[in-house]
Symmetry: C2
């Protein structure tokens, strides 16, 4: 058997410890698959003496991130710390500059600095592997970059944040509203104390930016991404969506067609019986639509120690075999820098939820506003007023676009009988 592939692991949180566990329990099997043993040379983390449930006594303790990055014994540094700026970014640059591969789950870092880091990797004949950064245990990076490499990918749809999907599933099952479910999830440790990163769609958008880059051969552009989270989704919306045959999912979408490149992260309605509609709770899923292969769908666990570490170790095995690939499918000088188009004029059906004062003429006013924008109604539900005299009007439109919907909403709100904000969501029939 040839020389071991030597690694240092920076960060011994949930995922870092998971990586150590897999490499310990499956050492022989992994050596067979990699064609050589994987050797953990050194580890480092904030606290050397914390009991992490794995034996790390056989590994050197690196005194600093930079010491690990510069350790000439290492073939690769496994960055399991996270965060898009500061010392972690410095360490990765240091490791790449000194000819080491980097394996990371750090979507924020790659979404913001991916191209610069990929260039640095290329200059040093190494690569950055990040299967674990998108959809946890689901090998979606490998599928896009290699499995579907014969295709011009046209569309990607992704359920990319387990916390959001869990909250939306739980709201539906228990009939509770967002704030209540979020609070419970925080108490149980399923959601962060500051949940913004998850529920406002930022984490999922980091992943979508990387998926778009991989799929279309373009530079990831997080800044150009429309991002809407799930805070505005009420239980009543989930209930009405179910009545119309849909589930509400925080859906990432990226498209490349004659209109250009588009990406958006927003809550959408998808058919209950569709492949994405049946993805519940913490599960993640990605649907890729290639010009020759048609639709390929993958589903699995998007987070957690085992699934995420599974992807990290798969990357390590690939690197040990010598299968290093360009970070974003093609060399950085082949990556296109594109203007991302808005999804606003992309045709789709829409869900509209208006809370109105239950008084004469309201309906006529609303339908006139829709008519003005050439929006025609496919399904209509009106539910009788509550104690405040407020009724809910639910409209499923035929195909239109967000520009028309938003104009209609402005006109409808100007009628003066709408209470609070109108809710509109895209319906993706997939």
């Amino acid at each position: 058997m040839t020389e071991a592939f030597s690694i240092g692991i920076a960060g011994l949180g949930t995922v870092g410890v998971g990586v150590v566990k897999i490499l310990q329990t499956h050492a022989d099997m992994i050596a067979e698959r990699a064609g050589r043993p994987i050797k953990i040379v050194s580890v480092t983390a904030g606290n050397k003496n914390k009991d992490r449930g794995v034996d790390i006594s056989g590994y050197d303790w690196a005194d600093s991130l930079d010491n690990m990055a510069q350790d000439t014994r290492l073939d690769a540094v496994i960055e399991m710390i996270g965060g898009s700026e500061g010392p972690v970014k410095g360490m990765i640059e240091n490791a790449l500059s000194t000819g080491k591969h980097v394996v990371t789950a750090n979507k924020a870092l790659l979404a913001h600095h991916g191209v610069a880091l990929a260039k640095l990797a290329e200059e040093n004949n190494v690569t950055i592997a990040y299967e674990a950064a998108i959809a946890g245990g689901i090998p979606v990076v490998k599928t896009l970059r290699e499995g579907l490499s014969a295709n011009k990918v046209q569309n990607i749809y992704g359920i990319l944040n387990g916390t959001c999907n869990y909250i939306l599933s739980d709201m539906r099952e228990t009939g509770r509203d967002f704030e209540v479910v979020l609070k419970e999830a925080q108490d149980l440790g399923y959601a962060e104390a500051d949940p913004s990163f998850d529920v406002d769609g930022i984490d999922a958008a980091h992943k979508l930016a990387l998926l778009g880059a991989l799929a279309f051969g373009v530079e990831p552009d997080f800044k150009g991404l429309n991002i809407e989270g799930i805070r505005a989704v009420g239980f009543d919306d989930i209930k009405y969506a179910t009545e119309l045959g849909y589930r509400i999912k925080l859906l990432g979408m990226a498209s490349h067609n004659d209109q250009g490149y588009m990406q958006t992260m927003e809550p959408c309605l998808v058919p209950i019986n569709s492949a994405l509609g049946s993805v519940e709770s913490v599960f993640n899923a990605v649907m890729m639509d290639g010009d020759y292969v048609d639709k390929v769908m993958m589903e699995g666990r998007g987070a957690g120690e085992g699934p995420t570490a599974s992807s990290v170790v798969a990357d390590i095995i690939d690197l040990a075999k010598g299968n290093g690939l360009p970070v974003f499918s093609v060399a950085t000088n082949k990556l296109k820098s594109v203007d991302w188009q808005s999804f606003e004029d992309v045709e789709s059906c829409f869900y509209l939820h208006l809370k109105v004062k239950d008084e004469k003429g309201v309906l006529a006013g609303i339908t006139a506003c829709l008519d003005k924008e050439n929006i025609s109604v496919d399904n209509f539900i009106q539910r009788g007023h509550d104690s405040n005299g407020t009724a809910s009007i639910i409209i499923e439109t035929h195909a239109t676009n967000a520009i028309a919907i938003n104009s209609a909403i402005v006109d409808i709100e100007a009628l003066g009988n709408v209470q609070g904000k109108a809710i509109s969501m895209r319906i993706e029939k997939l």
Copy 2:
């Protein structure tokens, strides 16, 4: 850009032509992804002058399979003919022996001769790539062999034959019986004139044998596989299964656990709302269950020009990049030759369908036979007798195993009031 990767394509049927189309339409994109151009040097097929809808005038015409196999200009031979014996096998051996990679969609050949061919490939420092052999456009070989390489895979479930899944879906939707739907599928060209290969489960079993080998690091063993097709599934079974909350699917299953290695191909009931239960019509799907990653599911098109050619070209790109892998994940001298255990004593719930003479004491007799084998009943449906005085009894059992079920059926049939053969199918709750 480095030297072109030169290939010869043997066979210009649907898939062979699809490969030519992709390489022509996406030449530049593929060259970027492969890091070098892919060059079709020569082609061959039964009839040189047939119009195939693609321009092949720029390629040499190889006068024989052996001439192509021995063409020293080629880096790889793309075998798109099929068949497990005869000249195709000889050509592949010839190509491997003379140091060429082989890309193929030929599951029959690999299920029967995979290990010998893999050894020959190893001796000559080349490999055999066969993503297209299993589940068409779904990159399941890559996922098992690379994406989930950190895992000991414990279970695989696959819907691997589009013709069977189409027939079962169509029976359910139209209320027609197997023979009627099959006849129509044949008339429409969806099923072969001799449908046995598909509907008797042989094609799907070839694929399962390869999946098992890949997942568990064992030699593929087609001969050791229990194979049952879908001919015995009636529309009434599909109807009763629906009533109980299930779909009937021809399901390939392979497991590795404390009881050993097991594989079987048989019609099973799966929950309607499960990931596999919602795979309809010609679609294929594979669910893989790894010890760290948990379940990963993939769904897509299992056949057809575009999807199958997509997988073939992905393999070609991999080889052009130098990413050749051992045929079955690990070197052949590491492959285990195992005794495949029967699925008979694996615990699961069962579906039983008995047609009985509607007379006194029948039910008491049947339940006594089940009691004797410690089989307890979870759901029971009796549907009134037809004009022949025959009633249908449908039983969903609690967990038991096939040995108990088969013994009970022998006893029940001996009671003398059962008409025709009792139908039993495993229920996989996934």
